[in-house]
């Protein structure tokens, strides 16, 4: 049963009960309600009892009176009757009736005749008090009944008495009741009503919110207890309220304080924000802050102006970064994005989410900006734009200046060396002519001076390169043993001449090769060794190489090279000048020992460029020790040290370079010099011929084909005619794409040691030279590589088609090794497009490809292109089955190569391609003619 019903029912019940009862609203009434009935009842009971008693008594008396009277009167009447004295009887009766109580009396004679009666004889029967007595005369014992008396009494008097009594009783009861009621009321009032009223008053006061007053009542009874309890409660309540108010007051105060504090803090924050905004506004960079959800929080006006002029209204707070970017692109602000907008935007967003570092962005009007994005700690992003257009321009200008400088240096080095080489060459020639002693001496002097000058110039040029920061170091695997030993070798003869012991030791823990610049390392070692030998009169010079430290984790090693000598030493006070430019220890030493004083400076710079440090210790008269550290990554030594072998093969070789084009001559001479060969240049065939005919034998001649006076072929012929068997081997350089058979035949007839295409690829030139000059087992590998190159090779345009990334890479690398830069595509469709756009000589087509297989693609290409443009298409297949291969040929492929690609086979195919092409073109021209 839901709880709410209960009380309702109870209330209803209570109400129902009260409807039938007077509804007492006061204790007073309630008490009276109890007292009155009780008192009433009890008085009524008492008085009723009393009354009943009285009434019984009265009746008793009356009855007794009746009997008495009857007796008496009978006696009285007896005589009268005997005497038949009726008058007497009447008299007696008359006196009887005077008694109030007598109602009636009747006398009868012995014959039941009424003698006399008196009173209301008709009502006798109705009375309760009736007696009949025999009247007897006589003496006791001898009575004679003379008559009968009938006497009736009335209880009227009783009734009257009763009434009076009742009245009295009622009055008494009333008085009693009234007294009780009064007493009750008074008592109540005294004991209960007053205190309750006081309580009520107090409560009302409280309800009305007036101040509390204790109830002024004291008594020992329950009411008193309640009152004192109430008062106590009030006091407690007051106390609580006081506490509460206090607390509330305190709280209010605190709140006020806090609010005041907050207001202040708010003001400060506002100020700070204003400050920050000002600060951000004032910086020259564009600055923007995006929240972790990529929405713009704030941006300074520079940012908006710089980057988004024209779409400023789109750069508003809460715009997402992507929106901003899209709008910029749409407004054409970023030229690079116009090509492939969606891809650009996707890239940009990727970078934005994961910024890798500053990047440059080009905007309209060739403006460049440096854009930097950084994540903040809470995941937001700060984007800064710096206008680096000027910087960029300056950079470009500086680069241009640098390029100009480098070009100048290169040119100068060439310009200076050439005449020097001429002088040296001439003096050598001169020495071989008939000279007398004096002339011989002069010649020697010239040679020495020229050599010295060359060294000095080399030093100066190196120095200026180093100072200009134009010195670039190679990073290739350096075979340390080879580098060290060859340096020592070069000093050996001079040491031997002076009778000095020359030793070199490589510690066993030194790695076989590290990454570095072998040429420069040799330069350093040469410088130190030369110095050591130069300044030592007797004793020894030792070169040591040891492993100073290594970090296995990164394959980094630090080597320490030491050159120790037992020479004249360096005085302490000169040590600091040692590495300074142009200073020698002592002016006299320059005269005695020569040198520019630049060697050590360059050495020091080189060492530092390589990441090492150089130190020196010395004692006068005892010797000197130079040592330097060289860090480098441990790598596998260059395979079979091909280059080292090749370089050693051409070291010191005298090479004649014939080319009418100065730049070409320059390039080739430079390379030759770097390799340690000795080039001589000739601009015209006649010059070359006279060089050749001069006594100085040349080891090899490099000839350009295309020259004005006579072409390379003709020159070679002339040379052979002039020198016969003494003609040095020749290497022909050709930049033409003549594919005529006759030309090829002619070239073949000249028996060139090698035919190379321009521009001259270093590796090939080096290999060709090495092969020409030292055709022995050492170069077997190089030879094999060379053989792979088709004779009459021209620059071939090669297209490589393969869907597999690894195959593509391998193929390109092999082709690169052969000296070809192939175009690479990944599908048949792309191959067709490529052939449509460009003329390829040869297509290497993978057969097994998804989407479009190789055969189909090849057929498309053949169908698409006019006959003279159709390339040689070779199938690349992993199928080794002959029948399959033949099938390819039948399907129209011009050739096939199996995978993995064999270099020799590739070379042959390239040859074949060339020949086939020539044949085709010949056929076409024949047809057209």
């Amino acid at each position: 049963m839901p709880p709410t019903e209960r009380p309702v029912r109870q209330v209803a019940t209570a109400r129902r009960r009260s409807r039938w009862l007077p509804h007492p609203k006061s204790v007073q009434a309630k008490v009276l309600l109890f007292v009155v009935p009780v008192v009433l009842l009890s008085t009524m009971l008492v008085f009723t009892l009393f009354e009943l008693n009285a009434r019984a008594q009265a009746e008793e008396e009356l009855r007794a009176k009746l009997e008495r009277l009857a007796e008496i009167q009978s006696a009285v009447l007896a005589e009268s009757l005997w005497n038949v004295n009726d008058a007497q009887v009447e008299l007696i009766l008359a006196s009887l009736i005077t008694d109030q109580d007598v109602l009636a009396a009747s006398v009868f004679d012995d014959r039941d005749r009424l003698v006399a009666s008196v009173g209301a004889t008709d009502r006798i029967e109705r009375s309760d008090y009736v007696i009949s007595r025999e009247i007897a005369f006589g003496e006791a014992g001898r009575e004679i009944v003379v008559g009968q008396l009938e006497l009736a009494l009335t209880d009227a008097r009783l009734a009257q008495l009763r009434g009076e009594r009742l009245f009295l009783t009622a009055a008494l009861a009333g008085i009693l009741l009234a007294a009780v009621i009064m007493a009750t009321i008074l008592a109540n009032k005294q004991a209960v009503g007053r205190p309750l009223a006081l309580l009520m008053e107090s409560i009302n006061r409280e309800q009305q919110g007036k101040s509390r007053q204790a109830v002024d009542w004291q008594s020992d009874d329950e009411i008193g207890q309640v009152v004192s309890a109430f008062n106590a409660m009030q006091r407690r309540q007051s106390a609580y309220e006081a506490q509460l108010k206090e607390a509330s007051d305190v709280l209010e105060q605190r709140v006020e304080e806090r609010t005041a504090g907050l207001v202040k803090a708010e003001a400060k924050a506002q100020q700070a924000r204003a400050q920050l905004t000002d600060a951000i506004e004032s910086i020259s960079e564009g600055f923007a802050l995006y929240d972790p959800n990529d929405r713009l929080v704030l941006a300074n006006s520079t940012y908006v102006r710089m980057m988004y002029s024209g779409i400023e209204k789109d750069i508003e707070e809460n715009a997402t970064f992507e929106t901003v970017i899209r709008k910029s692109v749409a407004a054409g602000l970023i030229p690079d994005a116009l090509k492939d907008t969606d891809a650009w935007i996707a890239d940009r967003m990727k970078e934005h989410r994961n910024p890798q570092g500053p990047k440059l962005q080009k905007r309209r009007n060739e403006e460049w900006y440096r854009l930097e994005e950084r994540r903040t700690d809470d995941g937001g992003m700060v984007v800064t734009f710096t206008d680096i257009t000027e910087l960029q321009r300056a950079k470009e200008a500086a680069e241009a200046a640098n390029d100009a400088k480098s070009a100048f240096l290169a040119t100068m080095s060439h310009e200076i060396r050439t005449p020097l080489n001429g002088i040296i060459g001439m003096s050598t020639l001169l020495k071989d002519t008939k000279l007398d002693d004096e002339q011989q001496d002069f010649c020697d002097t010239i040679e020495t001076a020229a050599d010295t000058l060359l060294t000095i110039i080399n030093d100066i040029l190196d120095f200026s390169k180093v100072e200009a920061g134009a010195l670039e170091l190679e990073a290739e695997p350096m075979d340390l043993t080879v580098a060290i030993e060859s340096s020592v070798d070069l000093v050996a003869s001079r040491a031997g001449e002076k009778g000095i012991e020359l030793a070199c030791r490589i510690e066993p823990d030194v790695p076989a090769a590290i990454l570095g610049d072998p040429v420069r390392l040799k330069q350093i070692l040469m410088n130190l060794l030369n110095n050591a030998v130069k300044f030592t009169e007797e004793g020894e010079v030792v070169l040591t190489c040891a492993l100073q430290e290594s970090h296995a984790a990164e394959d980094m090693a630090v080597l320490k090279f030491t050159v120790t000598d037992t020479g004249i030493g360096i005085p302490e006070d000169r040590m600091d000048r040692l590495f300074k430019s142009f200073s020698q220890v002592d002016a006299s030493t320059t005269r005695r020992y020569g040198g520019t004083g630049l060697g050590l400076v360059i050495t020091k710079r080189l060492v530092e460029l390589m990441g090492g440090e150089i130190t020196v210790t010395s004692r006068i008269g005892e010797g000197t020790e130079f040592s330097f550290t060289l860090p480098g990554r441990i790598v596998a030594p260059p395979k079979r040290s091909r280059n080292a072998d090749l370089l050693s093969a051409i070291e010191g070789a005298r090479v004649l370079v014939l080319d009418d084009n100065r730049t070409n001559r320059l390039i080739i001479s430079d390379k030759l010099q770097n390799w340690g060969a000795v080039p001589t240049e000739a601009a015209r065939p006649s010059e070359a011929l006279s060089h050749l005919q001069g006594a100085g034998p040349f080891d090899v001649v490099i000839v350009d084909f295309k020259m004005p006076e006579m072409n390379g072929l003709e020159f070679t012929e002339a040379a052979h005619k002039a020198l016969g068997d003494g003609t040095p081997p020749m290497i022909l350089f050709s930049s033409i794409t003549s594919t005529e058979r006759s030309f090829r035949e002619q070239v073949g007839a000249m028996n060139y040691a090698a035919i190379l295409t321009k521009p001259a690829k270093s590796q090939q030139l080096l290999a060709a030279l090495a092969r020409t000059l030292a055709p022995d087992a050492q170069n077997a590998a190089a030879v094999a590589m060379e053989m792979a190159q088709p004779v009459g090779r021209h620059d071939l345009d090669i297209l490589l088609v393969d869907d597999n990334a690894i195959n593509r890479k391998v193929g390109s690398k092999i082709l690169k090794r052969l000296g070809y830069e192939a175009t690479v595509v990944t599908s048949g469709a792309e191959a067709i497009e490529a052939c449509r756009e460009r003329d390829f000589h040869i297509v290497l087509m993978d057969i097994e490809m998804p989407d479009m297989d190789g055969i189909t693609a090849a057929n498309h290409i053949r169908d698409l292109l006019p006959e003279e443009r159709v390339p040689f298409i070779a199938a690349l297949t992993a199928n080794a089955i002959n029948s399959e291969r033949d099938a390819y040929l039948e399907a129209g492929m011009d050739g096939y190569l199996s995978k993995p690609i064999d270099i020799a086979a590739l070379g042959e195919t390239l040859n074949e391609a060339l020949e086939l092409r020539l044949a085709r073109r010949a056929a076409i021209s024949a047809r057209e003619n």
Binding site: A636, K639, R640, N804, I806, P850, P900
Partner: protein
Amino acid sequence: MQDEVIDKQAIDRLLDMIGGDPEDLQELLDEFEQSAPDIVASMRTAADEGDLRALRINAHSLKSNATDMGAHRLSAMCASLEAACRDETVREPMAQIDAIDQELTRVRAALTALAGPNG
């Protein structure tokens, strides 16, 4: 263990073929590392879609790469899958692809171990 999975000589031959530069070789190894799992994934898709031709071509691709890397066993597995595709006698392609995937994992581990000392 390595030798069974990878034929070192094949790697050496590869290195030689591309010019002897260990960096180039590393490029190829990295490329293999990256692309081989993609090929296997393509194989699975092809098997799912019942595309025999695509499956054959992918198997062919992986076979040739595996041969380059000297992973002869892997290459053989791919070869037989390729042949089955050609003859249309492929049974339980997924199981075969799983086996190929497992072998590929071994191959990759062996290649990584190889690359270690050379950095």
